[in-house]
Symmetry: C2
């Protein structure tokens, strides 16, 4: 990890065992660094898989193949390469991914489509096939490792290892979810793609797992932003081994489905927050809550316009209760809004209500709130019942230093 840990870092949690999941790491040497950079996860036969992927149209071969292979619903292994994103590398990049899939499938005697590969790092350099082949061979021969080791190994410019865990009771059985994630910009290609992996022992049909993951994604990963730049490689995969022995979940009529869905969304939100907490240069964690929108989706878009505004983010960095910049961001969002119904607050204190600065506005509690690490911005549009919360970090000199110096 190149930079000192983020001031917003969280300690790595204690992670229970998940039946049917074995983690291993190795050194493929994708970069000239003295650390493991290849992660191999073996999954029990019959493991269900679901995934969500970047919408960037210049996506990597890993994303293309992963999106295609999720459709058949089963997984036996995951390989994550750190230090090279293999994006924008044409047919040579694709061949490197297919070679890894073939190597692992031969080892496990399974179909190639059950082997998932992710890569993160520099764009435009084909993943070296020889290093990948030797790295996978070393991983297969190594002893199992801890969740924290795996979380460190998938990282690139991350400043701390990021993991989360949750449990739910499903049909009388306790099921566990463990997850690791890497990412330090919502995206920052060639340095900080967001890759997240969720593992559970819950028995669940792949199609239902996909439904739940897609729904949770809308309210968690799709509600964070560090710098508005969308990766070519963003990937979140969920693997369910079934080792908990519950009656398999196939829909919301199944006993315990609601509890599992809640636990899945909880762990997705934990992961999403950890990425923001490691946002490049972040000094403050910001929650933007939008209410009174015409729809939840409209609220999310207004929230993202605020969370992506360089002027709002620098104001928070400067501990400045500059609510005029929030007004500007609401107005440019392209969503229904009425200046004369708009209310803005910080940390629970309204600065402006219904289009006018509050006559008795007392800036003291707002100034005190902005000196903290956990900032909230409240916006009420006064139009309808739509609501959403979006999370981001402030924009500081650290972001410039990290991104103006990288590569070359």
């Amino acid at each position: 990890m190149a930079h000192p840990a983020s001031p917003l870092a969280r300690p790595f949690p204690a992670m229970p065992v998940i039946g049917g999941v074995t983690l291993r790491v190795a050194r493929a040497g994708y970069k000239d660094w003295g650390r493991c950079d290849l992660t191999y996860v073996e999954l029990a036969e019959g493991t269900a898989v679901a995934g969500v992927f970047t919408r960037n149209v210049c996506c990597s071969s890993e994303v293309e193949l992963g999106r295609a292979n999720v459709a058949q619903g089963r997984a036996r292994a995951l390989v994550v390469n750190a230090g090279n994103s293999n994006a924008f590398t044409g047919y040579r990049g694709r061949e490197a991914v297919e070679a890894i899939m073939a190597q692992v499938a031969a080892h496990l005697d399974c179909g190639q489509e059950q082997v998932f590969v992710s890569s993160t790092g520099v764009i435009g350099v084909p993943l070296p096939k020889d290093k990948a082949e030797a790295g996978v061979r070393a991983a297969l021969a190594s002893a199992p490792c801890s969740w924290e080791d795996a979380a460190n190994t998938i990282g690139t410019t991350d400043t701390f290892a990021k993991g989360a865990t949750a449990q739910a009771v499903v049909g009388g059985k306790t099921v566990t979810l463990n997850a690791i994630i890497k990412g330090s910009g919502m995206i920052a290609p060639d340095m900080a793609t967001m890759l997240g992996y969720i593992f559970t022992d819950c028995a669940i049909a792949p199609a239902f797992l996909q439904d739940l993951l897609s729904a949770a994604n809308q309210r968690t990963f799709s509600c964070i932003t560090v710098d508005s730049d969308t990766s070519t490689s963003d990937t979140v995969l969920a693997f369910a081994t079934g080792a908990a022995g519950n009656d398999p979940l196939s829909g919301f009529d199944s006993a315990g489905a609601d509890a599992f869905a809640a636990a899945l969304e909880d762990i997705c939100r934990q992961l999403a927050h950890l990425v923001v907490r490691d946002g490049e240069g972040a000094q403050k964690f910001i929650a933007v809550s939008v209410t009174g929108a015409v729809s939840d989706d409209s609220a999310r878009k207004v929230g993202l316009a605020i969370a992506n505004s360089p002027l709002v983010k620098t104001a928070i960095a400067g501990e400045d209760a500059n609510w005029g910049r929030v007004v500007m961001a609401v107005g440019k969002a392209g969503e229904p809004a009425d200046r004369d119904k708009l209310s803005i607050g910080f940390g629970g204190t309204w600065c402006a209500r219904e289009g006018l600065p509050l006559a008795d506005y007392d800036e003291a509690p707002v100034a005190a709130h902005l000196k903290g690490q956990e900032i909230s911005i409240e916006v009420d549009l006064g139009l309808g019942q739509g609501r959403a919360t979006v999370w981001t970090c402030d924009l500081t000199h650290g972001y410039i230093s990290i991104n103006a110096d990288y590569r070359s």
Copy 2:
């Protein structure tokens, strides 16, 4: 002017006289500063007016009234207040604008709808009516001033006075266009709204002047960005006094209409470039040229996605030929693009062609280009004939310093 002049600053040009235009400035004292902050421009009777305004739905009363009054096509005066944007101030803000319009209309014995008012500065503080009234009175009693004085007086956080001039021959008469502009972010509400004013002695019908201004705006002001934040007060107005004595232009069938349209677009482009050159923290001027898009509008959107990407802008600040970040920005633009047809270059040297890094790519000329102040990025999408050029500046520590410290 609070900060040292931008390294990209341009000297103020020599400006010819425009018949029918008289400039005056005064101290209204909107802020506690020892400088003029109110600009008054008197226009000959019958002056045609056209305007383009911010699309921010939280726009100021000045914008609302200006948009309504442009429709009748005639102007006698312009008042520009610096230091207070009067945005998000409800009915009290609107009353302040209407009071200025009434005061000037009484002085000139004209309709209020022929008096245009702009304001720029902090959001959320109603413009003080007493200061405005005294400021206008002082301006009316003062001697005429120079174009450079007026350009300095409309500025706020601008680091240099920005003016441009152009001429065209219309029906055998030489017509002159002079213009001044302020702005240091595409927008930065409460500190740096973009306000631009073009004055010409050309005789032209208001409706045709509006057509030409709207068309020029699409290829000039709508093609620049400093920080992706859209002002609540952006305004560009064009005033045509008719003092040149040419046969009035009423459409492209009029003699000299093409020459005037070209001169108008030229002056708009000059003004737009000057705003980018005073972009907050700017060290480099960046032109992003997109070709091969499915349409000109699609090319412009791809160009803006690149020009708004914090990762592209920090890479240029770091003089880093990081074309992978350009790939990412193309892919996230939401416009038709095909990874395997995409080509990227800097300063006329291709780094990648048709989806693959160039095998014989020589970074030396690119590295040399990036050390300069004038940077070009070339993107060919390989899909169609659409093209556009977008202009921006790099993202530096200066932007953070300026915006994390402002106000409070």
